[in-house]
């Protein structure tokens, strides 16, 4: 019966559905694809709709082959490869838009709809946020509705029932989806190797610092990390999130030294530790942030000699780790800090600062007094903390200290370390984040890129490395109240830093809290959490084999339940006479006479009699009994029995 259907031409309505749905699914890719490809895909969509509307022929095969070849070549030229995430997605979008141009039949439409589901997945290569998930869920709904529409060959279904059926189908598959989510064997790391270009556009700290590199970050609202504290949140001015430590200065740029790794922490622990959990956003570098000073090592991580936590592999996925930090600590008191390197300054730069350093050394003698004198100088000489510092020339530190006296944290940190080194005090720059915003809704701290900060560490005899934040001397508000408090009103700032409207701010916090929960529970569901969950549910063996068996069993049970539910609904209405008649029709179909669903029994009996006069009387008798059972007002038991007999005996 279905043999004739697949070659049915695709209707205008279905063409519109499939084209628009695919366009919606591909839409988020538009900002990532080259402009020419976006334009071509849009043109193909429009062209296909136009051809369908005007009932015109689709373009010839040779033209399509030419476009395929040209398009693939162009993608190769654009990406220098046809594989990998970006080139692969570009190729897929191109091919789907071309496939649209040769979609002639209902069957082609079905193929295209299936590819549509695949196109949905490609969006998750780029974003896995809640809005993306909701958008793609809507897309899946639409593509399912499209497939339902493609099932109707005779007449178009009403749009509402089409969408309703699709929604019901998605709802029915939800239990299966949850089972798969929980039980599907997880792999360590991402399923596919992310290409090297995956983090090209990620903002964040780097392992070098030059004037202006940090205040670019200040305008980024991207989240750097989120932290949940076990106890009370420490005060804002103690939340120094330690990042790369920069030792070497070339007159303009500070860079980090290659790091010697250790597997244990040398730390003079002085206070009860602060316990917290960090979820760091991917930044494609190896460092893991922790509050000054980390006291434990996360799994698969070490610590550098300058107390920076380093993961064994770059952080390319959102990573979560438990941490313990000592806010009061002592480091490096016992060891000599390689003074030559910590005192090194490039020759020929900043002569005035060097002179000032020597003066300080001569005046005060000991390192602590020199440090305090320098901090007093910053405080007394009316230095200004600003996001828009004046441009500096060759002798950047000289100009900053003696002329402009206005800068951002990196200027203060850089100048202070240069001055200390000039005075013979070992010093280094530490970058990281300061503070963060507490989200009361989810009870966690959000640290954004705009919280990026640079401070210094100075080595003092008997005390070791001591954190000194020169910015703090100039603008204490930066550490206490964050960026917005430290700057005058009217300075342009990221929205997150300056709470313009409390309602909008509250909404932003609510959304971030939801995103955090999503990250922790859904996206953060990995091998460990899966194992923990299953163990808590009483399952000790969590090998992938067990999971696979459970998965298959659960799938079977759910499918069976849904099937039973459907069958029960159907059996509710079924009349035994009808079932027998259907059996008769099936036999008749084998005899070559197929009854259409819309054909009345008497009409069918007539047609059957013409086609197969040999067994017509038997068919006639069955039909009479069936009609009597279904449509006459009679007592039905005898006839039903007889009908059963006759249908059983009916042979072709």
């Amino acid at each position: 019966m279905n043999a004739a259907k697949p070659i049915a031409a695709i209707s205008l309505r279905n063409t519109v559905w499939i084209t628009l749905t695919l366009a919606l699914i591909a839409a988020p890719h538009a900002e990532r694809l080259p402009l020419w490809l976006t334009v071509i895909a849009a043109v193909f969509c429009g062209w296909r709709l136009y051809l369908a509307r005007m009932r015109l022929e689709l373009p010839a095969r040779w033209l399509m082959i030419f476009i395929v070849a040209a398009g693939s070549a162009a993608i190769y030229l654009e990406y220098r490869t046809l594989f990998g995430r970006d080139a692969g997605v570009a190729l897929l979008v191109l091919m789907i838009s071309l496939k649209l141009m040769e979609t002639r039949t209902q069957r082609d439409g079905m193929v295209l709809a299936f590819i549509g589901y695949f196109l949905v997945i490609t969006n998750f290569f780029y974003s896995q946020s809640i809005p993306t998930a909701l958008y793609l869920l809507a897309c899946v709904w639409l593509i399912t509705a499209t497939m339902i529409g493609l099932q109707y060959t005779r007449e178009a279904p009403p749009t509402r029932s089409q969408l309703r059926t699709a929604a019901i189908m998605l709802a029915q598959s939800a239990p299966l989806m949850i089972v798969f989510f929980i039980l599907f064997p997880r792999m360590q790391g991402p399923l596919w190797g992310l290409p090297t270009d995956a983090f090209a556009g990620v903002t964040g700290l780097s392992d070098s610092m030059s004037p202006g590199s940090l205040n670019k970050l200040v305008f980024s609202e991207d989240v750097a990390l989120r932290a949940t504290f076990a106890g009370r949140l420490p005060p804002q001015n103690r939340l120094y999130w330690r990042g790369p430590v920069l030792l070497d200065f070339d007159g303009r740029t500070w860079t980090a030294a290659p790091r010697a790794m250790r597997n244990q922490i040398e730390l003079d622990r002085r206070e009860n530790p602060v316990r917290y959990t960090v979820t760091v956003e991917p930044h494609n570098r190896r460092w893991l942030f922790a509050l000054d000073m980390p006291g434990t090592l996360p799994p698969r991580a070490g610590i550098s000699v300058d107390h920076l936590l380093l993961s064994q592999v770059p952080i390319t996925t959102r990573t979560r780790y438990e941490m313990e930090s000592f806010l009061d600590y002592g480091i490096g008191a016992a060891s000599n800090p390689a003074p030559a390197r910590m005192l090194a300054l490039p020759a020929g730069f900043n002569p005035q600062t060097r002179v000032l350093g020597q003066q300080l050394r001569a005046q005060h003698g000991n390192s602590e007094a020199i440090m305090n004198a320098a901090l007093k100088m910053l405080r007394d000489q009316k230095f200004v903390y600003t996001l828009e510092p004046p441009l500096l020339g060759t002798h950047a530190v000289d100009e900053f200290l003696f002329e402009t006296r206005a800068g951002f944290c990196e200027h203060f940190a850089s100048a202070f370390v240069v001055l200390m080194r000039a005075a013979g005090v070992p010093a280094r720059v530490v970058t990281g984040y300061l503070g963060g915003e507490y989200n009361a809704l989810g009870d966690y701290l959000i640290v954004r890129q705009s919280d990026a900060h640079a401070w210094t560490e100075v080595w003092l005899d008997n005390r070791g490395w001591v954190r000194v934040d020169p910015t703090n001397s100039v603008s204490p508000a930066r550490a206490d109240g964050g960026l917005a408090a430290a700057l005058p009103d009217g300075v342009s700032l990221p929205r997150s830093a300056r709470a313009s409207n409390p309602l909008i701010h509250q909404l932003a916090l609510t959304l971030d809290s939801m995103a955090n929960a999503w990250n922790q529970t859904v996206l953060g569901y990995n091998l460990e959490t899966q194992r923990a969950l299953l163990t808590r549910a009483g399952l000790d063996d969590t090998s992938w084999r067990t999971l696979a068996v459970m998965l298959i069993a659960a799938t079977g049970v759910i499918t069976l339940l849904l099937a039973l539910l459907t069958l029960r609904n159907r059996a509710h209405k079924r009349d035994p006479a009808l079932a027998l008649y259907r059996a008769f029709c099936a036999k008749a179909a084998r005899a070559g006479v197929v009854r259409d669903d819309a054909e009345g029994p008497l009409d069918f009996a007539l047609r059957f009699a013409t086609a197969r006069p040999d067994i017509a009387p038997a068919a006639q008798a069955i039909t009479q009994l069936y009609v009597a059972l279904r449509y006459k007002n009679i007592n039905k038991n005898n006839e039903l029995h007889e009908l059963r007999q006759r249908v059983r005996q009916f042979a072709i």
């Binding site: 309505r13 005779r154 007449e155 178009a156 279904p157 009403p158 749009t159 029932s161 209405k573 009349d575 009808l578 259409d596 669903d597 819309a598 054909e599 009345g600 029994p601 008497l602 009409d603 009609v627 279904r630 449509y631 006459k632 007002n633």
Partner: protein, 301 residues
Amino acid sequence: MKKINDAASQIGHIILGKDRQIRLALACMIARGHLLIEDVPGVGKTTLAHALAASLGLAFQRIQFTSDLLPADVLGVAVYNSDVSRFEFHPGPIFSQVVLADEVNRATPKAQSALLEAMEEHQVTIEGETRKLPEPFFVIATQNPSRQIGTFPLPESQLDRFLMRIELGYPDATAERALLRGEDRRDLLSQLKPCMQPADLLALQREAQQVHTSDALLDYVQALVDHTRNSAGYAGGLSPRAALALVHAARAWALLDARKHAVPEDVQAILPGVVSHRLQSATDGSSADVAARLLAAVAIP
């Protein structure tokens, strides 16, 4: 039962090659419904109406609808009689068992509504006095296709009052040759003898109401009606009145077939007549082949 078949064959001798339409018209009358015949002029609409009335032995009046027809021309008028010093009612042509409303869409809506009210109520109210119409009472209206000029198309609510609308269509070649060879239709009509009495028709109507419609059959009718309401293919779904009309007409058709129960084939036979004036295609607003599409789309439960 025999009488109605005699009537059918007798009418079939006058309107040649249109047995199916004749049976539909008879079914319509057995189901107590009014009949609308729509076609181009000259295919025998009026002749069919005449033949029906004459064969069934019913009193017959014809009203030619024109654009200046007034309601009083249909219903009748009270005239002052000076001899007896009071108004006397002169009944209009509506007071008849069969009223042929010829070219009903040529008249203004005002005159149309006078007729259509009578169809619904089987009574007319003139100057405050309600007068019963005779029993049985049928209106057979003919109309030209509405695309012809000088027509006031009947609104949907009024079309709904006709149980069936049938089209005669051109006769086929053999029927037309027989027509051309044969006697004048007017003579034939005048020679027609009634095959039955009005009482017989009333009895048939009662009998039709006894025809059994099983749940399975009503399922089918509901499935058909449901489809028109839920499918994108139609401009508007069938009303419950239309569903009722389907059931009544199917019963009458079953009775004409000498059955005491209705089967899906009965519904399929009368469906084109019952729904084609109530249902429009959503795409082009036409009602051509909507009935056939509907039947093909709905499976018999």
